[in-house]
Assembly symmetry: C2
Amino acid sequence: MAKTTIYDIAKEAGVSIATVSRVINKSEGIADKTRKKVLKVADELGYHPQAYAQGLARNKKNIIMVVVPVLSNYFFMEVLAGIQDEMTNYKYDLNIFNVGSNSEESMFHEVENILKRGWADGYLFISTHMQEQQLEKLKRHDMPITLIDESFSGSDSVTVNNEEGVQKAMDYFLESGYERIAMISAMKSSKPSKQRIDGYKKALKKADMPVDEQLIMTGDSMYRDGFSEENGYEAMSKLLELPNPPEACFCSSDIQAVGALKAMKEKGVEIPVIGYDDITISNYIGLSTIRQPMYDMGMYATKRLMNKMKNSKLTPTHKEFTPELVLRSSTDV
Amino acid sequence: MAKTTIYDIAKEAGVSIATVSRVINKSEGIADKTRKKVLKVADELGYHPQAYAQGLARNKKNIIMVVVPVLSNYFFMEVLAGIQDEMTNYKYDLNIFNVGSNSEESMFHEVENILKRGWADGYLFISTHMQEQQLEKLKRHDMPITLIDESFSGSDSVTVNNEEGVQKAMDYFLESGYERIAMISAMKSSKPSKQRIDGYKKALKKADMPVDEQLIMTGDSMYRDGFSEENGYEAMSKLLELPNPPEACFCSSDIQAVGALKAMKEKGVEIPVIGYDDITISNYIGLSTIRQPMYDMGMYATKRLMNKMKNSKLTPTHKEFTPELVLRSSTDV
DNA sequence: CTGAAAGCGCTAACAT
DNA sequence: ATGTTAGCGCTTTCAG
């Protein structure tokens, strides 16, 4: 069964390709008889339009593309679930594109090229963490884009306030009377990681507490930017070997907290731990955490994008979700 | 910055579009001077080939498409990590397509249409669970496809023996002397779920033990086919309310086991539990499980697909991975 | 209501 | 070494 085209159908049905195209596209003003005949032949031949030809001809792809740097990551997965569920309300297909670069510069070019290639009708960028100047360049391509987990004044974006989230975690520890509060961070070059470190320091300063750099720890494995169980495990192991170990610990992500918890268990140590994200599993293992409404973020961003695509002169909006402290057993020590 | 085409470059550089095309595609036999000029203009204009036009013209897309029914699922995520990492070795881009259908029939049509549309040069199908007859139809489209987590004699596929995996879990329980062994299953219509139930029954029969249908339990929430924490939680809750509760429990997936563990904790019950998959987190929470080499499966399948694309007359191979029992603390009671 | 023909942006013979 | 031209499969005027 070779690829069948409208030419095949036209010949077989004894009409012109224009007519075939018309019935396939359900345009009106077609004799009922012709339509039926064409449809029948199309079905027999197992016809389906070629995406590339169609896209080229009408300059419309019916595709929404999600662009992400790292696919196998819990944060992304949950955001994606929201996108996916919301997308069922539209007639667009969803494509996920993985930008694989390491350096920030080449990542930008990769992203820009995706836009230039004209893959989709609209784009959702998750955690690509580009600079404003770069984003500015992208806007020149004049494509609907909604940013998730990063923001920029001139673009649609949905984020959650990282510093506020950390603040809430720290406030809890501080109010509970802890003084040596550690933080398990991730890759230094990661923007959310950086923001969380900043939030940590600020919270300490606000409370007139000293910042002990030794207590800001990360593991050695930087797979997935350090947002991994392994990294958290390593970090906590190091923390517990300090001459003066911490009394409490805030983690940049739930997944690292999971690793940290294991390290603690192995050493027989029990200190309160708060994670970040509130991935589904956290509820089941009793991990206290800062909840980011990941699913809602994905859903909201998708809605925004679709609106933007309908009405291109909508003013860009920035939606900031508020993170919340969720207390579970990992803070009961 | 409107879309720039080779026509723009040709005009600006004072050459023909063919020449532009040649230098963009690095074909040889081009005067160094012309090349430089063209490249310069292309750069100034921020040129990048249009994917659809290029794809249409050369009938080659440089895309590998991963087709999955459910995106936000741990099994898929880990397989995907393997695919993603392996793909960095090739010059293809990765696209993920989510088939969103509920009924088996319409799912098949969705999948077939993807093929017909001609998106990619090769496809990786993960857990689509089609019937042989349907797969047979797909083969007529003559596109390189590798199946993951399902198999069919005429296609490249990589699977893991589900029954064998369950057998190992059951053997462990049986040898440890347990008699009332429950199983937490997932959606009945899911193929892997079914296979695992079969394995469970077989193992019992082999050991001359009665099969108590009451002990094959699933939760009410069927989100993600029942492969969720919630489902496991519900199932275990029901199990523990039985007049004669089980002494041990095998779960269809680690993620369900996580839920089951929570239910046990809440009721203050401790029975040994074995999950299925060995997702990364299991190691950190001490969950005994049947390990499926998900990452390796993704990697292996990707390699196969790429080979197949190089050499289309390769004989289809079926690679079956062997699941292994991994004992951790959840079986120490 | 239907057909002819131009065009979407690019590639690949075929010329020169 | 470079230009001309005919497609790739489909949509969309413009005629009739």
